[in-house]
Amino acid sequence: MSTLQLNAVSRWYGNVVAVNDVTMTIGPGVTGLLGPNGAGKSTLIGMMSGFLPPSAGTVTLDGEPVTGAPEYYRRVGMVPEAEAMYDLLTGWEFVLANARLHKLPNPQAAAGNAIDLVDMREAAGRPIGKYSKGMKQRIKMATALVHEPDILLLDEPFNGMDPRQRMHLMELLTELGKAGKTVLFSSHILEEVQEIANTIEVVVSGRHAASGDFRSIRRLMTERPHQYVIRSSDDRALAAAIIADGSADAVSLAQGVLDVQAVDFGRFVHALPRLATTSKVRLLEVTPADESLESVFSYLVARS
């Protein structure tokens, strides 16, 4: 059982702050590091894997500082985001080379096990350069698993995988988590994370925006104020009806459209057709204005 602890960690490149004062604990089980592209997920993984010293704060593994000393990698397996590997080697040769670099007592058996775990036995004899992106991801995963590490740090491991490969890897990570391994994987797709992660850490713009199981994160996301843009046959009459009803928190008329903000979106979406009917207003268009994941993330940052 291993626990990674980030304590008030920041990392900047020149004037750009990539990670800002993040404190989080990654314990046994599967943890999803969720955030939009450029949020600082890879930088966080880089610091946890010992390749990036924090500009401020500390990263520790079971209380010991993570320095990137060679011995650290006996306990850690990594899937880096970078796609490049040794393309001239076959998948088998590459995983075997990784097993040998770990100085395992039986590298052949270890490489065989890791390749079986990621379901790459059939394609293992082909050069990596000829693999699809999903196959490359699986071979990267095999190199991370070959020495059976306590901790797995996986940067966007599902990138480029087809649904079947994705399902297979999800099952594998779930099993590893149940076996007591500390598994951290990053993703920018909520559905991917909520499927398997026991804990979700949300990062936005380098800041730790939220933490918890997927239900609490989901709740945060659904309880946020929802924005709608409405076009109708009589915006003023509809606005008056919505305000009188009290099902929205803010209503504004601008540039020929009605902007509505509702915290209780369930109540609002039920009230809107009723209000339009009683006001004799025809609804022409109702568009949710902020359903993108980025806007959800922005909300989480604003409230944190």
């Binding site: 490149y13 060679p70 011995e71 990698y73 490049a84 040794y86 670099l101």
Partner: protein
């Protein structure tokens, strides 16, 4: 040293277009040497001038630039080096293993072609061949180490190395007296002058520095290159995608 790293490095170095270029440069040297030899006949002094100017002054640094940067630069550039760094292997072992491949490649692509070119250009005496063989070997090992270090320091190692090879070693190292004493080419020529003995003047072999100074300078450069490369790998920050 680590046999897995040696194998990975060898396959990466010899498996790409870089290998073609590595073969082209010695082929160019041998072709021109044959033309020089055909014009001069068995003239050791003529061969010596050609080898010092063209082989040691230009082609050996260029070949070593390709090899020294080629055994590590592409892996830093595409970040695949992370697979070696994320292992319980000392950084010094990674450096020595990669340099072992680079030194071997330098013998094949720089030292042996230089000796063969010396013979083709008309330097048929054993002492001339030995002198330029030793010079090419010392220069190659030194250049490869320097260019390897350069590749760990900057992603523009080939351009910086090219400027160094052309401006410092070829132009200034050939003509400016002050710079000559700080030139790898001159350090490597010191043993050649000793080997040539009384024939050194006849063959036009004159190093800017003495044997001891030359060998110490070479040894110091190689050791410093290995130490700094290892330190650099320990601090290398591959993860800068964000």
């Amino acid at each position: 040293m680590n046999s897995v790293i040696i194998t990975l490095t060898r396959r990466a170095l010899l498996g790409k277009r870089r290998a073609l270029l590595l073969m082209l440069l010695p082929a160019l040297l041998l072709g021109i040497a044959a033309l020089v030899g055909a014009g001069n006949g068995a003239d050791a002094a003529g061969a010596s001038g050609f080898i010092q100017g063209f082989a040691l002054g230009t082609l050996v640094p260029l070949i070593c630039l390709l090899i020294g940067t080629g055994v590590i630069g592409p892996e830093i550039e595409d970040q695949s080096l992370i697979y070696l760094l994320a292992k319980p292997v000392r950084r010094g072992t990674i450096v020595l293993s990669k340099l072992a491949v680079a030194y071997g490649a330098a013998v094949v692509f720089a030292v042996i072609p230089t000796v063969a070119a010396t013979w083709l250009a008309g330097g048929r005496e054993a002492d001339v061949l030995l002198a330029f063989g030793v010079t090419a070997a010392l220069a190659s090992v030194t250049y490869v180490t320097v260019f390897f270090l350069l590749a760990t320091l900057t992603r523009n190692a080939v351009v910086v190395g090219l400027l160094y090879a052309v401006l410092w070693e070829t132009v200034l190292g050939g003509y400016a007296p002050g710079v000559r004493a700080l030139s790898v080419r001159q350090w490597s020529l010191a043993p050649a002058e000793q080997i040539a003995g009384t024939q050194a003047a006849t063959w036009g072999i004159a190093a800017e520095v003495g044997l001891t100074t030359g060998l110490i300078a070479i040894a110091a450069t190689i050791v410093a290159g290995i130490v700094f490369s290892s330190r650099r790998l320990a601090r290398l920050q591959l993860n800068t995608s964000e």
